[in-house]
């Protein structure tokens, strides 16, 4: 990530920005674990934990990151986006989605399961590519 302009005097807000990124990361990890557990055994987690609350928290943190990022002129360059697109974590993300999709369709016809899973993975892949493509 390249900082275009950062107000070095506003260290407090930069700390908040960094911490919010950590919180977002932790919330996403929680969401991934929870989604995976729920995909394996429906109702296992949702009986204890509210998905709505986690998702609302993620959006709230994202909004706060956006707010502090904008205030402190923090933005991504095209180069960074390209890196993100090539990121190996994308493969992990797709594998994760495939697992969830597959488990959620357990019991359905095999051909339907495979067709829907591939359809879903390609859709997500192209949405990802469209959002983070190097073309501005």
């Amino acid at each position: 990530m390249t900082m275009l302009q950062i107000n070095p005097n506003n260290q407090k807000e930069l700390v908040i920005y960094k911490i919010l990124n950590d919180i977002l990361f932790l919330l996403l990890v929680v969401l991934a674990i929870v989604l995976l557990a729920e995909a394996i055994l429906p109702g296992f987690i949702s009986g204890y934990l509210s998905f709505t609350k986690i998702i609302i928290s993620i959006f709230a943190v994202l909004a706060a990151i956006g707010y502090f990022g904008k205030k402190n002129y923090i933005s991504y360059t095209s180069e960074n986006k390209k890196q993100l697109y090539k990121n190996k974590r994308l493969i992990l993300f797709i594998a994760f989605l495939a697992t969830i999709t597959f488990t959620s369709m357990f019991g359905m016809n095999w051909i339907e399961t495979i067709a829907i899973s591939f359809g879903m993975i390609f859709t997500v892949f192209y949405i990802y590519r469209m959002l983070f493509s190097s073309q501005d």
């Binding site: 990530m1 390249t2 900082m3 950062i6 070095p8 260290q11 407090k12 930069l14 700390v15 920005y17 960094k18 911490i19 990124n21 950590d22 919180i23 990361f25 932790l26 929680v30 394996i40 055994l41 429906p42 296992f44 204890y48 934990l49 923090i74 357990f106 019991g107």
Partner: protein, 447 residues
């Protein structure tokens, strides 16, 4: 340490602050994770009752009553008078915590204690004075004498010749002892081979009928008939017999307590209504066995108006048989009482489902805890914590509480929390339960 925004560089003093803040945030998530794991591995169940809103839908403590059977209005309990209440659970727990919050104007609670028992609600019904008798419609014989139970009375058929003329075969009659016959009220003898007594059973063209008030009532199906009687108890007749008696509009469904399965659902017949189980855990919590499920047809299910869901706090239907493991006795439930079945042949006449195992000890063994005032807080809060491991061995889904105090009190709210002790065995049980749920979800049956 993982830095997700390495491009943003901070001054050394802020770097330090960020470091500690980050440690704190990660610690919060780790502690949260550990707490969540604790909830998953050692799950508890909470039950509530709010006396200021007794009709609240979230109420989960049931049958709050004084010894006279009345509900203590506004939570007022007279000194030295007991109040009983129930909770229903499908799982066993090793400890329980009961919290009482008294009204602001209530006198303090003095010398209070709570007794806890575990059994089935229905098995705790009072014992009926008279033991169970042969089911109406039954054919019994003793010492060369033949009887039919008609209108709940034992009626002697004057001779086997009469019985034969009526169409009965010797094999249709169940052997009974003299003692078993003596439990039944006696009715007038049957000496006429032209008139069938009420409750006689007929098989006409593979349809089953019972005579009620001299009208023929058809059984819904053969399965429905078999939920009451054996095939050989019905006299075989041809269609011309239907002209002799008028046909009732009412059909006879399955016997109360019959367990039915249709598609992926399980149902129970209770007070003549078809009531679905909400999940397999509730089904098993009543002590029912899967092998007792009768596979029903669409027509049989369609015969009934669907009743509300059969929930864990519902009593077993009338006709449920309990087998007491510690004394070998059998009981049958009927109209809010339980009747002892004294006699093997009477038992046979009822035993269409497997009896539900119970322990006599369970209704006589209570765990007792002393109610103590909570140290902190301005409100009048009291607590009673108890180890209930000794109750685990008893079958049942009903925890029965009986509370008593020396002073008159007014309870505002009552909370009961069941939990597991933190140990490897509890964690292992939960993990095993999760494993079984996963197998069940993916239709996998481990060896």
């Amino acid at each position: 340490m993982l830095d997700l925004t390495p491009e943003i560089q901070l001054d050394s003093i802020w770097k330090k602050r960020y470091f500690f803040l980050k440690i704190f945030i990660y610690a919060v998530f780790v502690i949260g994770g550990l707490y969540f794991s604790y909830i998953i591995l050692f799950p508890g169940e909470k039950f509530l009752f709010d006396f200021s809103a007794p009709d609240k839908k979230t109420t989960s403590i049931f049958y709050i009553r004084t010894p006279q059977g009345t509900f203590p209005k506004n939570g007022i309990i007279t000194g030295k008078t007991s109040v009983s209440f129930d909770t229903f659970l499908a799982k066993d727990f090793s400890q329980v915590n009961i919290k009482l919050v008294l009204s602001d104007d209530s006198s303090p609670l003095e010398n209070g204690e709570i007794k806890i028992k575990k059994s089935y609600k229905t098995f705790s019904y009072p014992l009926a004075e008279k033991p169970a008798v042969f089911k109406t419609g039954m054919l019994v014989k003793n010492n060369g004498n033949y009887y039919i139970v008609s209108d709940n009375k034992l009626k002697k058929i004057s001779s086997f010749k009469i019985a034969g003329s009526l169409g009965y075969e010797d094999a249709s009659f169940t052997e009974a002892t003299e003692t078993e016959l003596n439990f039944s009220d006696k009715g007038d003898g049957i000496a006429n081979d032209k008139i069938y007594p009420d409750d006689s059973l007929f098989n006409i063209d593979n349809n089953y009928y019972q005579l009620k008030n001299q009208e023929l009532r058809k059984f819904l199906s053969q399965n429905a008939f078999l939920s009451y009687y054996d095939k050989n108890m019905a006299i075989t007749k041809d269609k011309s017999f239907l002209i002799q008696y008028s046909l009732s509009q009412e059909a006879i469904g399955f016997a109360d307590g019959t367990l039915l399965s249709f598609d992926t659902s399980a149902y129970i017949i209770s007070q003549g209504k078809l009531r679905p189980f909400n999940n397999p855990v509730t089904f098993l919590s009543f002590g029912f066995a899967w092998k007792d499920l009768v596979s029903a047809t669409e027509d049989e299910i369609g015969f009934y108006q669907r009743g509300k869901i059969f929930e864990i706090q519902d009593p077993h239907p009338d006709g449920t048989i309990f087998f007491v493991r510690d004394n070998g006795k059998y009981y049958i439930t009927e109209n809010g009482t339980k009747k002892e079945i004294k006699g093997e042949n009477i038992l046979k006449s009822y035993r269409k489902n497997n009896p539900i195992p119970v322990d006599d000890q369970s209704i006589n063994t209570a765990s007792i805890c002393v109610i103590k005032k909570k140290l902190f807080g301005t409100r009048q809060k009291y607590n009673c914590h108890l180890d209930i491991q000794q109750l685990e061995k008893f079958p049942g889904n009903n925890y029965q509480f009986e509370m008593q105090a020396d002073s008159e009190i007014s309870i505002r709210q009552m909370d009961i929390v069941f939990s597991q002790k933190i140990n490897w065995f509890s964690a292992r049980d939960t993990l095993s339960e999760i494993k079984n749920k996963i197998f069940f979800h993916y239709d996998y049956a481990p060896n």
